[in-house]
Subunit: 72 residues, 2 copies
């Protein structure tokens, strides 16, 4: 029985972002533990939330967001 409520989230990502995810999953994996792309996304969400506590981080993220949108 799952301990927590779960939600299914669907995201559209670019081929480049998919390749990034694969690389990240590989880099975080070890011979003892395989890390999935879904785990990397969960990790990325937590990490982003951690970072947003810091002052300048919000401005930097908004800039990165604009950059990503320009590429789409």
């Amino acid at each position: 029985m799952p301990k927590k409520e779960k939600k299914r989230l669907q995201v559209v990502i670019s081929d480049e972002q998919d390749a990034l995810l694969t690389r990240l999953a590989y880099e975080l994996s070890s011979p003892e533990q395989l890390v999935s792309k879904s785990e990397v996304v969960r990790l990325a969400i937590e990490k982003l939330a951690d970072g947003l506590g810091e002052g300048q981080e919000k401005a930097r993220l908004k800039e990165l967001l604009r950059k990503l949108e320009a590429e789409e």
Copy 2:
């Protein structure tokens, strides 16, 4: 016509992570621009990949990953 190839990724997240995403999307939004949860996930992936270039970051991420798994 889309400039780039797109992929659909399905991730299972906890209620807490969904709430985090909503909060992040709100914090990055402005009266001029609404940011979606899907955009936040794309941003989080890019941000995580950026961070992994740094030396100690990998060890820290693996620790966070273990923490997340323990909570699941």
